[in-house]
Symmetry: C3
Subunit: 264 residues, 3 copies
Amino acid sequence: MLELRLVQGSLLKKVMEAIKDLVTDANFDCSATGFSLQAMDSSHVALVSLLLRSEGFEHYRCDRNLSMGMNLNNISKMLKCAGNDDIITLKADDGSDTVTFMFESPTQDKIADFEMKLMDIESEHLGIPEAEYHAIVRMPSSEFARICKDLSSIGDTVVISVTKEGVKFSTRGDIGTANVVCRQNTTVDKPEEATIIEMNEPVSLTFALRYMNSFTKASPLSSTVTISLSSELPVVVEYKIAEMGYIRFYLAPKIEEDEEDNNS
Amino acid sequence: MLELRLVQGSLLKKVMEAIKDLVTDANFDCSATGFSLQAMDSSHVALVSLLLRSEGFEHYRCDRNLSMGMNLNNISKMLKCAGNDDIITLKADDGSDTVTFMFESPTQDKIADFEMKLMDIESEHLGIPEAEYHAIVRMPSSEFARICKDLSSIGDTVVISVTKEGVKFSTRGDIGTANVVCRQNTTVDKPEEATIIEMNEPVSLTFALRYMNSFTKASPLSSTVTISLSSELPVVVEYKIAEMGYIRFYLAPKIEEDEEDNNS
Amino acid sequence: MLELRLVQGSLLKKVMEAIKDLVTDANFDCSATGFSLQAMDSSHVALVSLLLRSEGFEHYRCDRNLSMGMNLNNISKMLKCAGNDDIITLKADDGSDTVTFMFESPTQDKIADFEMKLMDIESEHLGIPEAEYHAIVRMPSSEFARICKDLSSIGDTVVISVTKEGVKFSTRGDIGTANVVCRQNTTVDKPEEATIIEMNEPVSLTFALRYMNSFTKASPLSSTVTISLSSELPVVVEYKIAEMGYIRFYLAPKIEEDEEDNNS
């Protein structure tokens, strides 16, 4: 039997909003250690990895490992029915082909439950090896989201270049070229407003802006984002989920910087 | 001659927003006692009944009974031109085929008038008999609106079931089933947040969510809504208009609970 | 060499938003006295004239007169990437066919630059003679914008009539007629809320509402608007730009008041 009770139910809403544009159907894996998901986007270019550790739940019971296939749009529809202050409980009986979401209002005067059929989804779990990164940038998630959005009005790809002084985001399009430089800046009033560069060697990589913009849908989950870069490794864009886990997005760099993105 | 002066002009804007999706053209009836409307929706399934008593107007003059046919979208367009604090006056001369809406800003510095042609609309006034209801639910109008909206993302019809403990709203659709229970709750800080059940016998009735959602457009008029239910009588969804009257919506229950709604 | 530094960068954003619906491509003229633009709208009915005097810039260097052809939608796209508190600098080298916009965040932690190709645009500079106007109306810009928007839901043209008592805006459409009267009103708490009429003789002129609505896009630039009217002269709708200059829109009156506007 599975029963997961999350007091801060709005967190689950934000998690689904963060990944539903990228992933249509996915298996959610429950084990004694936590609730997780790993999925490729529909064009098999980007990878999402989610972890919510069991300690983060008010109540966490998972008698045996369970993989529950669900359509993310349907989950999102159901979660839209939850109030922002609602407590959310996920329940599944052993061997059942359904899962139940229960929403309790803080005063307990309103209780909603939604039963959803589970799906069979084929998927293989990829091992993601630990890697050394040439450069790790930590910056405000809202700033990163703003830059990706701004640059997409000019071009289709972004070149991310890291030096000791800062990180540069560049693009090029029909109407001209654009560069945005964020300087390393650790002496801010609020730690979450800092831009911090950890660098072993300079790096400059090109990515499709379309995916970067999808990743920034996770911004409501965390005030900071960490971008880990290495030549010829996928970039990791990570949003920490307070005291519970993370969402990580992986995206391979474009090999030829000048290549046109015809998918946009 | 007709001259109705309403200090709280925004009320008239809210009334039109509440009914214009349901009713296209309708006769507004003026008599010494008040300003009223009774109309079926275009598919002749739901009935709207509006009453604004003469006492609620700052000035109310209606020399003889008058039935004025108007297009509600046109009235709504005109009322959009009124500021929220404007005083609205409705004027019609005896025998005239036009009606004039006048809007005065609170400082009297801006005065607008709109003259609109009246229409000939055939309609018959239905007598609505007083009825005994098995159950009457009073609840916050915003809560009711939220539930109807939430359930429509899952299914097309709602089953409303009342017991002494509370009222349950249920639906079923392709992606699963949903139940929302609001418990009777009279010990709240603000009386308008209470959920109060008056029940003679349990009742469970099925309605098209599309209509329920239309009715909830009246929510800005009142912080509470009253839902009166009886087997095989139309449900009455009533929004009181402070010190002036009400909007009541009538909708027949669906006979077969499992019937699919193909109109959505 | 050209280098213009504007501390209040949001002003440039507002200027572009004010004219980009009316004008697609235009030459921006830089001289020692200031930064200016004069352009007809694409249907050659309305004229825009912009002036930002050199004194209003924190730094203003213009070695020789320069006319820079740009697409306003492209400028607008670039300016959307500037934060509202950013300092904006415009740079062009002598003989270069590009212009650079630079945005600095107030803390200097984020610096963006956008390079854009200049275009060759044919245009002739019209001399606009000083004229005597029969009536000049100064009123809150938000009020004027609201009236133009409201009347366009009823009709296509507006008759502006000025008397000593006030200014009347009238329209007529399929659903009826509308008149909005703003009374002269100089005894308000805030001077920008006044409606002030300077009148030599009464005047009544008809204009296409479509253009008036375009002009009101400049409302964020100034809390007041000045409307100067004379029979058989184009109306001037002027928004002052604090301590820097103005945007002026010119529009010829419609000769026959009853003429239908088929362009809407």
